[in-house]
């Protein structure tokens, strides 16, 4: 069973969003997504100050098998890509909601967001996909 922390929001494309106290948001991929991808060997995170729109491919995670885009669920300006993933891409596998975060954004004023789900809704989506 996938780990789905209750305090985060989720997308249909298996990203998670954490709202940080300073008004920025932290984005990563879910436990379900990292498991489906398998062992990650390379992660490309966006440069600081890059402007992203909702649904833009903002990061790339590569497993042994394949490269996959990670889509930004929020419009805004990148404040930081996770610098630790260059040396340790497997952090996304081992700790997808912690050390494996991909990027932080400052949402644009009145920013558009993708349709975000609660943890309960995301759990339901995973059950539907598994069925």
């Amino acid at each position: 069973m996938s780990n789905v922390p209750p305090d985060l929001q989720y997308t249909k494309t298996h990203e998670w969003v954490r709202r940080l106290p300073d008004g920025t948001v932290e984005i990563g991929i879910t436990d379900h997504a990292q498991h489906a991808l398998g062992d990650l060997v390379f992660v490309e995170v966006p440069d600081t100050d890059k402007t992203v729109k909702v649904g833009d491919p903002a990061a790339v995670v590569e497993s042994v098998k394949a490269a996959s885009d990670v889509y930004s669920p929020v419009a805004g300006v990148v404040t930081q890509g996770n610098p630790g993933l260059a040396a340790e891409p497997e952090a996304v596998n081992n700790d997808p909601y912690g050390k494996g975060w991909l990027m932080r954004l400052r949402p644009a004023q009145g920013a558009a967001t993708a349709e975000l789900m609660s943890a309960a809704e995301y759990q339901k989506l995973l059950q539907t996909e598994a069925a």
Partner: protein, 361 residues
């Protein structure tokens, strides 16, 4: 729903992720592709390769037939049990398939061809065999297991009785023999020592479980692909196909142009061409992952990656790439618009668990 091997239900029970491979439902990985890869480099692993197609050829003119059918020369096979790797070419010199041929007796040879090409191979071989009066029989009701790694032979032999175990352990590299009701070959597709065995389908589950119990790890096709790429071995359909010939596929060593009077299928086409391309190995010198179809930029023109992956042994990305012929040392690869530096190297990248390359960490 694809074809299923006799081990399909066991793979599911072992928690494998199943994918379609050439029309077959096959395990791509059980737990971790990297862990399975290392198991083969450092100890032993077992792969289900029952999707591949064994074909028996029998007749008094079978050797003559194979000297016509195959680009490599079965005249090299003088001792019973010896195996040879060869391409099977079209008249135009394109690679119809790559295969292993085993010399069993003067009237009996066995081929093992790829799963994705089995139907067209059988049609082609039957068509060509008619004038040689050779019978062509696809073997069914068999399971094929590849047990690979430095400990693979000893672990496999531990499942056999004393004399059978001795017979299996006595096989030289690229030799095969009947051992009881097993066909045991000291061949593989990983760059490690090991066996490929053909056994009755009904025994497959028991043998797999016994191998697991002996400490042989279950390994999926994902690890098989990274292992063969590190070993510098081509994958049919990726690195060569009907539209490419052996000389631009790193396979010149498998084409026996001598003796000149052996007129094998595809020979005339090969004699009349000057290869404008070559297949080389690439080692990415920056962070990233090489993938098939990425464009390669060279001083003598563009090329293309035919197989690329992360190498678990080297912890770098490696690839096979088709590039313009001629000496090349450094190239660039276009990865999502960025041009990353790669070094041209001669495969294999890894042999018997060790890197063959000088790599600065």
């Amino acid at each position: 729903m694809g074809h299923k091997t006799p081990l399909f239900e066991l793979h599911q029970e072992l928690g494998a992720r199943i994918v379609d491979f050439g029309g077959w439902d096959m395990p791509v990985q059980y737990s971790s592709q990297i862990t399975e890869h290392h198991a083969v480099r450092r100890a032993s692993g077992v792969f289900d390769v029952s999707h591949m197609c064994p074909i028996d050829l029998k007749g008094t003119r079978v050797r003559e037939f194979l000297r016509h059918l195959l680009a490599n020369d079965v005249a090299k096979l003088t001792r019973p049990g010896k195996a040879l790797y060869s391409c099977m070419l079209s008249e135009g010199g394109g690679v119809l398939d790559d295969l292993i041929v085993y010399f069993l007796t003067d009237t009996w040879f066995r081929l093992v061809v790829n799963a994705g090409t089995r139907d067209k191979d059988l049609v082609w071989i039957r068509q060509q065999s008619a004038q040689f009066d050779v019978s062509v029989t696809e073997l069914t009701d068999l399971a094929m297991l590849a047990i690979q790694g430095p400990e693979a032979r000893a672990k496999t032999a531990s499942l056999l009785s004393g004399s059978a175990a001795d017979a299996a352990m006595a096989l030289g590299p690229f030799f095969a023999a009947r051992v009881g009701n097993w066909f045991v070959a000291r061949t593989g597709y990983t760059g490690e020592d090991g066996f490929e065995i053909m056994i009755p389908a009904g025994d497959a589950v028991r043998v797999w479980r016994e191998l697991n119990a002996a400490g042989v790890a279950s390994c999926g096709l994902g690890a098989r692909d990274t292992l063969r790429l590190e070993a510098g071995m081509n994958l049919y359909g990726n690195d060569m196909d009907e539209k490419t010939h052996p000389f631009e596929s790193g396979l010149a060593w498998t084409v026996a142009m001598e003796p000149a009077e052996r007129r094998f299928i595809g020979r005339s086409a090969l004699e009349n061409l000057t290869p404008s391309k070559q297949l080389v190995g690439l080692l990415l010198e920056e962070r990233g992952v090489l993938r098939s179809h990425q464009q390669v930029l060279t001083p003598s023109g563009p090329g293309e990656i035919t197989s690329g992956s992360f190498s678990p042994t080297l912890e770098r990305s490696i690839a096979l790439a088709r590039v313009p012929a001629g000496a090349l040392q450094h190239v660039q690869v276009d990865i999502r618009g960025k041009h990353l530096n790669a070094r041209v190297v001669k495969p294999p990248f890894v042999r018997f668990g060790k890197s063959t390359l000088q790599i600065d960490k």
